[in-house]
């Protein structure tokens, strides 16, 4: 094969001259991390809320929460992203829509991506939270109520702390997913890791090096997140229970 490997390409000044290609990659890496973490905050907060609502006795609240989950679970992420980015600004009141369209393009892309990833993931987090709560022994809720806790107190002191521990392992995989799913945001032009990889291919004519580097970066994110989450799981383990000592 006539391919000329050249790993030195990363240290060459980039086409625009103000940075190296490694610098481009690093910028994409930072964008991926920043986007994923901020979307994760949204996903956790909303997901926990919606997941809890799905388990409450109030039919209306539980129904709204179910509809929320079904909506975000049954439309492809890419379609959701395009709707946030291209459609929503058109549907907002004119002043708000224009304000969005006149803001910095990167800001528009980042904002749409963050909201999209956050809500998409929140529906999946909600499912995990719901099944965590439902997998608690039913007697736990009764035990809390029987001690005189109100229903919110029972959730707060009895059910949620335990459900939270059950839910950490599946949430780890959602957390990993959010980093991977963030690559979808390259389609609206956000210069995150995958988009930088693509750009590198165009500019350097070294496609193998570029893609290998980007792929390794994703693997590295994966490994680091898994290691941290395992440490975390061990810290919150309950003595005398599976996973505890």
């Amino acid at each position: 094969m006539g391919y000329q490997w050249n790993w030195g390409v990363f240290f060459q000044p980039s086409a625009t001259g103000d940075d190296t290609y490694l610098g481009w990659m690093f910028a994409g890496f930072k964008m991926t991390i920043g986007l994923s973490l901020s979307a994760w905050v949204i996903a956790l907060l909303l997901g926990a809320l919606v997941g809890v609502l799905r388990t409450v006795p109030n039919k209306l609240l539980a129904g709204i929460a179910t509809a929320y989950v079904e909506l975000f679970r049954n439309i492809p992420l890419l379609v959701q992203l395009f709707i946030w980015y291209f459609v929503l600004p058109e549907l907002l009141p004119e002043s708000l829509g224009n304000a969005f369209k006149q803001s910095h393009p990167v800001l528009q892309q980042f904002f749409a991506s963050m909201v999209c990833l956050g809500l998409f993931t929140s529906a999946r987090v909600a499912e995990q939270v719901r099944s965590g709560i439902n997998s608690l022994p039913k007697g736990q809720k009764n035990a809390g109520l029987a001690l005189g806790f109100t229903l919110p107190q029972t959730y707060r002191f009895v059910m949620l702390p335990m459900a939270f521990r059950l839910v950490v392992p599946p949430l780890t995989s959602e957390f990993l997913n959010i980093f991977k799913n963030s690559a979808v945001c390259s389609t609206i032009g956000l210069l995150e890791l995958a988009a930088q990889g693509r750009q590198l291919v165009d500019y350097t004519a070294q496609p193998y090096e570029s893609f290998i580097a980007v792929t390794l970066a994703y693997i590295a994110i994966n490994v680091v997140v898994m290691t941290l989450m395992h440490k975390f799981e061990r810290r919150i383990a309950v003595p005398g229970y599976i996973g505890g000592k």
Binding site: N74, V79, L91, V214
Partner: protein
């Protein structure tokens, strides 16, 4: 506020339907190849031959660590050229669809293999022992006793994964293929009616995926009454 105009949709329906056929074909072949290859991977992973088990573990962990978009980009930008050189395929041959399909199937097999591995492991060890006690070989026990039970238990999960896969096919957008979503985007772009076409596409996906997931839920209730 936006003035809606849905008039580009009726005329574009045949084109959109062609796109939907591509989405469905990709889904179907990825499900079939994914399950077959995924089963093999799962059995390798559980095998006592270290080399096989390591290969399967490496494969699955690699594909599960990388975004699907990245895999599709590999199979859009790099693999065709590589394969072309390897087999002397004339330059300019359009391999986008077959390449995207290959990428999809290889990627989804990693996910299927994890579902199938869990399914096999959930069929109790006792069943394997009982089959062996009857004089069956390892292969016979797997094929006649363990896998049939495992697959029966896994049907809902495999179908759910197929629905996810169908949604994921929209990502072939990155290989510039006109699947259903790609077609909708093209029509919207051409007519300046992106808002309507994107909402339409979203609604179609929702109706299909929601109905399918309700059916899976029914099946699940029927086969695994809680």
């Amino acid at each position: 506020m936006h003035d809606f105009d849905w008039s580009s949709i009726p005329g574009a329906l045949p084109f959109l339907w062609d796109g939907m056929k591509i989405s469905l074909v990709i889904t179907l072949q990825a499900v079939v190849v994914g399950i077959v290859w995924g089963t093999l991977l799962a059995m390798m992973r559980l095998s006592s031959i270290k080399a096989l088990s390591w290969f399967a573990a490496g494969y699955v962990n690699l594909f599960r660590a990388v975004p699907l978009v990245m895999v599709l980009l590999w199979f859009f930008l790099i693999v065709p050229e590589f394969v072309g050189q390897l087999f002397n395929i004339p330059k300019g041959t359009d391999m986008r669809l077959s390449s995207a399909m290959a990428g999809f199937a290889l990627f989804e097999a990693a996910y299927y293999s994890e579902i199938i591995r869990a399914g096999i492991q959930s069929v109790s060890k006792g069943q394997m022992a009982a089959a062996s006690a009857l004089g069956m070989t390892y292969g016979q026990s797997m094929r006649l006793v363990v896998l049939p039970q495992a697959f029966r238990n896994m049907v809902p999960l495999l179908l759910t994964q197929a629905i996810i896969l169908f949604q994921d096919t929209s990502l072939v957008y990155v290989s510039a293929l006109a699947d259903f979503f790609g077609a909708a985007y093209k029509v919207g772009d051409r007519d300046g009616r992106l808002v309507e076409l994107l909402l339409f596409a979203g609604a179609v996906y929702f109706v299909i995926c929601f109905s399918a997931s309700q059916i899976v839920k029914r099946l699940q209730k029927k086969y695994h009454p809680a």
